[in-house]
C-alpha cells in the first residue's frame, strides 16, 4: 500500500503523534545538556521515555494496525519495558551521584542513614513532617 492510498485521517494522526513524540524526546535531550546540575539533568530524559516514546509507539500502533489489517499491539510491550527499566537506571545514577557527593564532603560518612544535610556543603534538604 503506497502512501497516497492511505486515508487522510490516518496520515494526519500518525504524523502528529510521531512528531509530538519526537519533539518531546528532543526537548528531553536538550534538557540533558542545558539543566544546571546532575540531579536536575536526571529529570530530562524521562520526557523521552514517558510520553515521548508513548506518542511514537501510538503512531506505530495506528499505522501498522490499519495497513496490516490486523491489530498491532506488541508496541505496548516496548512501552512497558521502557517505563520499568528507566526508573531503575535513573535511581542507580542518582544514588551514585549521592554516594560521590558524600565521599567528597569533608566529613565523609558512607552510612546512608546519616543525614546528608550536614554532610554535603551546598545541598539543602527540606524536611517534611
Amino acid at each position: 500500500m503506497s502512501l497516497s492510498e492511505l486515508p487522510l485521517w490516518l496520515v494526519l494522526a500518525v504524523g502528529i503523534f510521531a512528531i509530538l513524540g519526537a519533539m518531546l524526546t528532543l526537548v528531553g535531550t536538550i534538557g540533558l545538556v542545558r539543566l544546571n546540575n546532575f540531579y536536575e539533568r536526571v529529570h530530562a530524559p524521562t520526557l523521552g521515555t514517558s510520553l515521548g516514546s508513548g506518542f511514537i509507539l501510538l503512531a506505530s500502533i495506528l499505522y501498522f494496525s490499519v495497513t496490516a489489517q490486523r491489530p498491532s499491539v506488541h508496541e505496548v510491550l516496548i512501552f512497558i519495558f521502557v517505563s520499568l527499566t528507566t526508573p531503575v537506571t535513573l535511581m542507580l545514577l542518582a544514588r551514585a551521584a549521592l554516594y560521590r557527593d558524600r565521599m567528597e564532603s569533608p566529613n565523609a560518612r558512607l552510612d546512608p542513614d546519616a543525614d546528608i544535610k550536614s554532610e554535603i556543603p551546598g545541598i539543602e534538604i527540606r524536611e517534611i513532617r
Binding site: 546540575n37 540531579y39 529529570h43 510520553l51 520499568l84 549521592l98 534538604i125 527540606r126 517534611i128
Partner: protein, 163 residues
C-alpha cells in the same frame, strides 16, 4: 495444590500474554510454548523470592494506572516548559525528605518507579531507619502541591493495594 503448581499466577498470566504479543499470534502452539516458558519462569522466581507480594485490590490498580497516566501528561508539559524557558526560569530545584507510611517492599518499589518515571521528580534514596525517602524535585516552588498528590493519591492507593 494450585499454589505449588503456579506460585505466581499473575506473573504467569502476564508472561503468557507477553509471549503471545511478542509472537503476534495466539495459535495453540504459541500458547503452549508461552505457558511452558512462563511456568519455568514463575518457578525460577519462586526459588529467588520466598515472600510473595499480595495484591489486594485489583480495581485500585487500574485507578492507580489512570492517575499515573494523567500525572505523566501534566508533568511532561511542566518539565517541557522548564527546559524551554531555560535559565530565565524562576523555579529552583531541590531536595525533599518525606516520611512514609507505606512499608510493603513491593509497594515501595512501585512508588519509586512511579515517582522516577514521572518527569520532574526523582526518588533518590529510601532510608530504612525512619522509613523516609529522599526526593529531588525539578520545581521546588510547587512542592506543596506535589507532596499532596504523592501522599493522598499514590501512597494512600498503594497502602490499600499492598498493605
Amino acid at each position: 495444590m494450585i499454589k505449588r503448581l503456579l506460585p505466581y499466577p499473575l506473573l504467569f498470566v502476564g508472561l503468557v500474554l507477553m509471549w503471545v504479543l511478542l509472537q503476534q499470534s495466539a495459535g495453540i502452539g504459541q500458547l503452549l510454548l508461552g505457558a511452558a516458558v512462563a511456568f519455568g519462569a514463575t518457578h525460577a522466581m519462586a526459588a529467588l523470592v520466598p515472600e510473595q507480594p499480595k495484591v489486594r485490590r485489583l480495581d485500585k490498580v487500574l485507578l492507580l494506572m489512570w492517575l499515573v497516566l494523567v500525572d505523566v501528561v501534566r508533568s511532561n508539559i511542566a518539565v517541557t516548559a522548564i527546559i524551554i524557558l531555560g535559565h530565565r526560569r524562576p523555579e529552583q530545584s531541590g531536595f525533599l525528605r518525606l516520611p512514609l507510611d507505606l512499608r510493603d517492599k513491593t509497594g515501595l518499589a512501585v512508588l519509586a518507579c512511579i515517582v522516577t518515571a514521572t518527569p520532574g521528580s526523582a526518588w533518590l534514596e529510601h532510608r530504612a531507619a525512619d522509613n523516609s525517602v529522599l526526593i529531588h524535585l525539578l520545581d521546588l516552588k510547587s512542592d506543596q502541591e506535589w507532596i499532596t498528590t504523592f501522599k493522598d493519591r499514590y501512597e494512600t492507593l498503594l497502602l490499600e493495594i499492598f498493605q
